[in-house]
Amino acid sequence: MTVATEISERLLELPEASSVALRLRTDQYFDAIQGMLDLFASKKDLDVIYVTSTVPSQSIINALEVLEIPLDHIWFVDCISQIMMSSSKRHPHSIGVESPTMLENIMLKVEFLMRKRAGRKALIVLDSINSLAIHNNTKILSEFLHILVNNLRAREAYTVIFSMQEYESDEIRNMLVLVSDETIELGEEAAA
């Protein structure tokens, strides 16, 4: 079973409004994105709000185009392009947050996009807890996750939080346990 298929199938097993910590290795990164956005979100007819603080949204958009994944139902909250002073041109499906330290503004942009698509079920991807932890301390990050995840749960949205296994600390693992209903570790079955 490929990584993309595995993640899609495991997410499909979960009830609606689930909050999931997705623990993956960096080499599984793009396969995981494909599994979530192409297989899982398409099957469930979900709108996707992809919060990226790891790589600029344009890099993910480029990868999705290569994989021929349509962007019609995918929107980005880009927390990294502005701070990197990269191209001012932005894809129409991407809105910016000045810096990954502006956690409240991430919540506000997610809220804005949710309202724009009121009545549609949504999947919110947080990519990733590790890159957010570079810019924020554990206390404020825990608070942010707790509010965001509960808010999204109340709106019956799926939340998937990426965590790169190579960069995890005990603090990050504890944080994920606190806010997630389920932890998915890719390749578990194969390893077993």
């Binding site: 330290t101 309202r115 206390k139 509010i147 808010n151 603090e171």
Partner: protein, 285 residues
């Protein structure tokens, strides 16, 4: 390792969060249940976050000061309050001193919820205060007591004639410049608040505060003491980031949150989320 600490207001905000099918927040208590409990009728601002903070909206008939420095969202809050009211059938009036109507309308049109027909249907009115001064024959740079009465009566007449239920004066500070004396500011505010409240009109008065937080000596303290409510907008600098904030520090006739919230001005209206507390303590973020 220490476990993450969550403050009670945040937990309450999270637990009590509910949404309607259209994605907008559900108000906490229907109007009928309020009446049974003897609570005052509310005038929902239409800004979900603010209505949540106020337990359903501004108590109807209250005069509320919206105070803050430039660029913090005061005018947007006021415009949304009026447009949302007009959409629900409450006739609304914006009395502008600082910006001519035509310029103001350019800022209103991008709102998703704004419908130009509200103007044609007479549900939403914009009047330039200098035009009203001219109509009332008020020419003096500094108002005397007679002119204060004339101005308040003039506003009350418009409110009566057009059955205005929501009123905004933008800004109180500009009027205060022509009142000078704190006694006159007090007189004007008391007369205006009484006249509007008697007509069941809920009002927002915009008050400018300099970026240093000073009111330039034009009656800020008096305004805040007399008003039924005070909503403070501001800028919060945290590690080089500048966040727009909102805090309701006073609102007669309702219990309300006094916490600070972060706001965003969007085409969908003013959005609010709680300010993360970890960022407000030394080394907290």
């Amino acid at each position: 390792m220490a476990a993450p600490v969550f403050s009670l207001p945040i937990l309450v905000a999270v637990i009590s969060y509910r949404t309607r099918r259209d994605g907008r927040a559900e108000l906490e208590m229907p109007a009928k249940e309020r009446e049974i409990l003897g609570e005052r009728e509310r005038c929902p601002t239409g800004i979900d976050g603010l209505d949540h903070i106020l337990n359903g909206g501004i108590p109807r008939g209250n005069t509320v000061l919206v105070t803050g420095s430039v660029g913090t969202g005061k005018t947007s809050i006021c415009v949304e309050f009026l447009v949302r009211g007009a959409v629900t059938g409450e006739t609304s009036l914006y009395l502008s001193v600082t910006e001519p109507t035509a310029k103001l309308l350019k800022n209103v049109i991008p709102f998703d919820f704004f419908d130009e027909r509200l103007l044609k249907q007479g549900k939403l009115h914009f009047i330039d205060l200098p035009v009203l001064y001219e109509k009332l024959g008020i020419e003096n740079v500094e108002f005397d007591v007679g002119e204060i009465k004339l101005l308040v009566d003039g506003i009350a007449e418009i409110v009566e004639e057009r059955t205005i239920k929501r009123f905004v004066l933008d800004s109180m500070t500009s009027v205060s410049y022509r009142l000078k004396d704190p006694e006159k500011i007090r007189e004007f505010l008391l007369r205006l608040a009484t006249a509007l409240s008697a007509k069941g009109c809920t009002s927002l008065l915009v008050s400018e505060v300099s970026t240093s937080g000073e009111n330039d000596g034009h009656g800020g303290g008096i305004e805040e003491a007399i008003a039924d409510g005070v909503i403070v907008t501001g800028n919060l600098e945290r590690r080089g980031d500048l966040l727009r904030t909102l805090q309701v520090v006073k609102m007669r006739g309702t219990s309300h949150s006094r916490a600070k919230y972060v706001l965003d001005l969007t085409t969908g209206g003013v959005l609010l989320v709680p300010l993360l507390k970890g960022g407000s303590i030394p080394g907290g973020g």
